[in-house]
Amino acid sequence: MKLQFVTSGLRTTTQDLGRPGYTHMGVPIGGALDRRAMRYANHLVGNPLAAPVLEVTLSGPHLHCLEAGRVALVGVGFNLLLNGEPQPPLLPISVNPGDELIIKSSGNGCRAYLSVSGEWLAERWLGSASALRIGSHELVPGAVWTRGDVLETRDVSVKPWPSMQLVPQPPSNIIRVSPGPEYLWLDDHGRSQLLSKRIRVIDPSNRVGLRTDTQIQLREDKRRIEMVSSGVQPGTVQLTHGGQAIILMRDGQTIGGYPRVLQCASQSLDQLAHLKVGDELILSLIDS
């Protein structure tokens, strides 16, 4: 299949399951922020579940089809238009040369995933095709799509769909968390301000981290401690000196020096992909 970008959308990147195994040199694992959506999109077009997909952010691209194939869109708050006609969600769509595809935001979506049938001819770095931006540097330039680019996949015989049931997750802003290594640095008041309470995502928030409008104080005796830098993960909730809770995302730092008060459940990480600036979320402690 061959698709040309007429417009790219705000930020459309190639993402797969990322590059684990390089955090000791500061390279984040990265990859699709919503892995379930990525896998489901691949499942719908008959690709291996770990194949690369396009990750769309806030506004989607306009694509012109040069060679036939199938695509599928999985995401909350986006519609797929084929030659102007809205397509039914969560189904593979056959596309022919000359067709126009538009991923249109309905105004409330943050991220969506478009799978493209066939084997991707994508640049890979450290085993992954995922884009990674560090500051202003694109470490995998070929994974960032701009107007005029052509995405090409090689047609392969489609394997029968796996029998496993892959169900896309219903959107939810309730994020399940467990205590982080410095959880006890919060007192009851701090916990009540952070947990089971609506908090808002504020700017700047991106694939590196989600900032929140919180102002939470640590326990009196822990406020002046300079921590020795130690490992963090996607989903780690750090508290800055100013009391702001930052939820690290998949392109986030690998070690950090702020107290790690909570850790999001793996199952909740995918949901964070769909939270944009202005959205609210609730951190809910898992009963243990």
Partner: protein, 244 residues
Amino acid sequence: MTVSPAFKMAIRPFGDSALLVDIDAGSTDASSDIVMALNAQLSRQRARGITHTTPSYNSLLVCFEPEQVQHSALQSEIHAIADTINVKDIPKGNQWSLPACFEEPYALDRVALATELSQDWQSIVDCFCATEYRVHAVGFLPGFTYLGNLPDALHCDRLRDPRATVPTSSIAIAGTQAGIYPFDSPGGWRIIGRLPFTVFQTQADPPALFQANDRIRFEAVTPKVFEALEQRPIASVIKQATRR
């Protein structure tokens, strides 16, 4: 002869798919040794279910696939490995001698630091270059190199307001640490000089030039030499940064 070093170890769950191992062996250097040895043994034994590990100073983050191994089983395995650690397991790092320029226009905080530390700039540079630094961690950003053993006379505060852009390859100090910036990025550390090459290149193998446990010395060069080195192909400059 091998000796089993004495240390305290605490292992805690960190979410549903990671364990955090904290090591206390008395000093940062000794703790770092144990972290490195434990990390090396874990990767050698290819413990089932581990996806990756992140060492840093006195801790090791061990991430795993919860479908393949449980917290408690992995915890026991790490304890068992820790019991067998001895000093010969501590990986030997590379030793580097790196040309660097500590003059204008690379030493961005020269004037303020000389005042703050009540020393003339030349003594500050001499003091910095007389020390061998240990790489305690590579992380935060890809290739950001954390160096320990900064002499007491050079301990200083971070900038109150971080710079919007610290240039690539800047050498910086803050608190009791020194560091090397792999990319231009915002930063609050005090900039004392620059390397004439980049320490992280996506096309190199491995991409990060330095790894935890390496030892680094800096050798001051003039801006003229620095500019000449900057023009040379990276491979030949890095050869200059000798690996002993």
